[in-house]
Amino acid sequence: MLDLQPQYAVAHHYDELYRPDGAPRPHYEALAKTLGRLGRDEILARVQAVNTALLQRGVTFTVYADSAGTERVFPFDIIPRILTAEEWGRIERGIQQRVRAINSFIYDVYHGERILREKRVPRDLVYSSKNYNREMIDVDVPHDVYIHVSGIDLIRDESGTFMVLEDNCRTPSGISYVLENRDVLKRAFPDLFNDYAVCPVDDYPGRLLDVLRYVAPRGSAQPNVVLLTPGIYNSAYFEHTLLARRMGIELVEGRDLIVVDNVVFLKTTRGPERVDVIYRRIDDDYLDPLYFKADSTLGVTGLMNAYRAGNVTIANAIGTGVGDDKSVYRFVPEMIRFYLDEEPLLDNVPTYDCTDDVQRRHVISHLDALVVKNTNASGGYGMLMGPYASADERAAFKDLIEANPRDFIAQPVIQLSSSPTLVEGVMEGRRVDLRPFALYGRGVDVPAAALTRVALREGSLVVNSSQGGGSKDTWVLQ
């Protein structure tokens, strides 16, 4: 039998399954009962089958630091994370609001800069952002939509309230794990679904395709939409193939495209074929060697000119990184008030600005209590978890911050909620976050297809796959 009693203290943070008094929350009761009935041996045997299936399907990611592109199965924990309809409703509304505001902000910084002129966001902060792109000034994009796809990372604080940890407005990944996790779990553990009405996730690709077709340059009745990938060695390549297949669109590499007279074409066996919309999973810097990194072989020469001429839509738009810059993050509540005249539905994590002398001094003298993040890094790279770091690591960050204060922000350590997770055959609490995805076309659509990442190392608060994280199937109840 699986021991279903909490093996971990739940007093100092929120637990998804257990209330502080040790009783399961009502929406987890049936799940706990089914797992108990299946028993440890049966569960472990099925977990084995799940892992084999994931490997054979090639649901793998590439670890960069590892020797030349090692493929690994993204660890999948079979115990689902459950969100009630009410919890999800709040999340959905909060994300719709936030994504609309960030999109308005991106439009504004490239058209007229109203928010900068009114000094609600410092001009220097925007101009110094690595992802602010002058080439985008006064460029009009279809329907003024910049962030067609975003992933907003949420965590629960000690009280269980969801807060936004990070916005991802460039090329957020993870949706393939949502789709595959659900598929694999339904096959391996059909019994778990018996007592629940779980919102489906497999309509995501269709909803994404609707957005991509909607933003096609005006005049293309049957737009040709393609997905641009850096290729088979990219860590998210599996996801690119899955989305292209499910949407029925061509998966292309930069070398498959050519720009002639500011029009983008595919190189096909029947000659050139016009492209209208590019869902790109390549960073801005690599898109066009004429404008960005000249030595990039991933991009397409002349793409930026075609884009500015309005002959092709690129999703997400170029230059959206100014909206998810970690230093700009703390102004998102202000954007919501400024553009929407609303109060934020989802709170930010308090954030220190290292360019401010007073705040920076506070950060440096409290490094042992704070999380410090490099504003130009992602994926859990380049960060300091103060309380868990060595004195040497903290000293190194002190120097880094003082040398380049614009490149760092600091936040208090938020405990993150824990969720029951199978660890070597025993159920233990492991910290989780939540990444819902938002699709922006006619409006902001938040499919009930969210990724739960779990920090598999005991006590760890870092959920990134590159740092030993795994994932769970996330159930949004109807």
Binding site: Q56, R57, G58, I232, L251, V252, K267, T268, T269
Partner: protein, 313 residues
């Protein structure tokens, strides 16, 4: 269809077929090497030398004559990653190509390649030899054939599938021609004919069609000209021709590109030339001529469909 994708599907088809054929050649010869007949002086070395020839290596590398020929040949043809036509290389190339066109092939087809790849990568020469290589070779054949069947049954038979077909049948024809070149029917008519038939998977089909024990001429005629046997040169060439016409949509009997002209000429030659005329200069000369034609056909296909496209006007 993207040129890059067409290119990858063509080589995917070829390399899966190659893995299957190399596995069959090794299995047939490994089994035959155990026969009394093969154990006479020097016969074993000669046998393995001819295997190397069938696999595409005319003289190099020289095999040792100390009784380790089988082991060396097996290692080279199955496990040597430096040998581009070894089983492990063919499977890796196939899998890399499949990965690059993952969005174009079905999940079932992809998984059959990936399972083959994961299996082959896991095997070690020493343990495969210890338990006898037949199990390993059988698995390679099974999964290669599974890919062929699964891709037929699950993929749309559009351009993508047709490029796989062209690759598959071109490789099959090429290897059949190689096998014909590698045998020595003049010296050992019965044994060599039987061995050739087995390497072409043609033993039972030939027996059914001919009702007699193989003689060299009939066995060769069967493998070259059978209308219905799916590994005969004629059958494979016809399949290449048909698949290429489905891709180009040019009417049968005409050509739109050089590759179609070449394959049409080959097809006519095999359709209308009597076996004795084909073999007038000997099996080996004939087979080598065809090997060359299939190499040129590959070049023609590449230059028509997978070039770096020029800037459109």
């Amino acid at each position: 269809m993207l040129s890059r994708v067409a290119d990858s599907l063509f080589w995917l088809g070829r390399n899966v077929e190659r893995a299957e054929t190399i596995a069959r050649i090794l299995d047939v010869n490994y089994t035959r090497a155990m026969d009394l007949y093969s154990q006479r002086d020097g016969r074993s070395e000669k046998l393995w030398h001819s295997v190397m020839q069938c696999a595409g290596f005319v003289m190099e590398p020289a095999l040792p004559s100390n009784g380790r020929a089988a082991h060396e040949c097996f290692e080279f043809c199955a496990f040597d990653p430096e040998n581009p036509t070894s089983i492990v290389s063919a499977v890796r190339i196939a899998r890399t190509n499949a990965l690059g066109v993952r969005a174009e092939i079905t999940t079932e087809a992809w998984e059959s390649i990936n399972v083959l790849y994961l299996y082959v990568e896991e095997q070690k020469l020493r343990s495969v030899m210890r338990e006898g290589p037949s199990k390993f070779l059988r698995r390679v054949r099974d999964w290669s054939q599974a890919f062929a069947g699964i891709s037929d049954a699950t993929m749309s038979h559009g351009d993508g599938w047709n490029f796989i077909q062209v690759g598959r049948f071109l490789e099959r024809a090429y290897m059949t021609a190689r096998i014909l070149d590698g045998i020595d029917v003049a010296n050992e008519p019965w044994h060599e004919s039987q061995r050739m038939l087995e390497m072409c998977c043609a033993s039972a089909p030939f027996a059914q069609a001919s009702h007699h024990a193989p003689d060299a001429r009939d066995a060769t005629a069967f493998v070259v000209l059978s209308e219905t046997f799916p590994r005969s040169l004629r059958f494979c060439t016809r399949e290449i021709d048909e698949a290429m016409h489905r891709i180009s949509r040019s009417p049968r009997g005409t050509f739109a590109i050089d590759a179609e002209r070449r394959v049409g000429r080959l097809r006519s030659q095999l359709d209308y030339t009597p076996i004795d005329d084909l073999l007038v200069d000997g099996v080996s000369t004939f087979a080598r001529g065809l090997v060359r034609q299939y190499e040129l056909l590959t070049r023609d296909i590449e230059s028509s469909y997978f070039p770096r496209l020029p800037v459109p006007a």
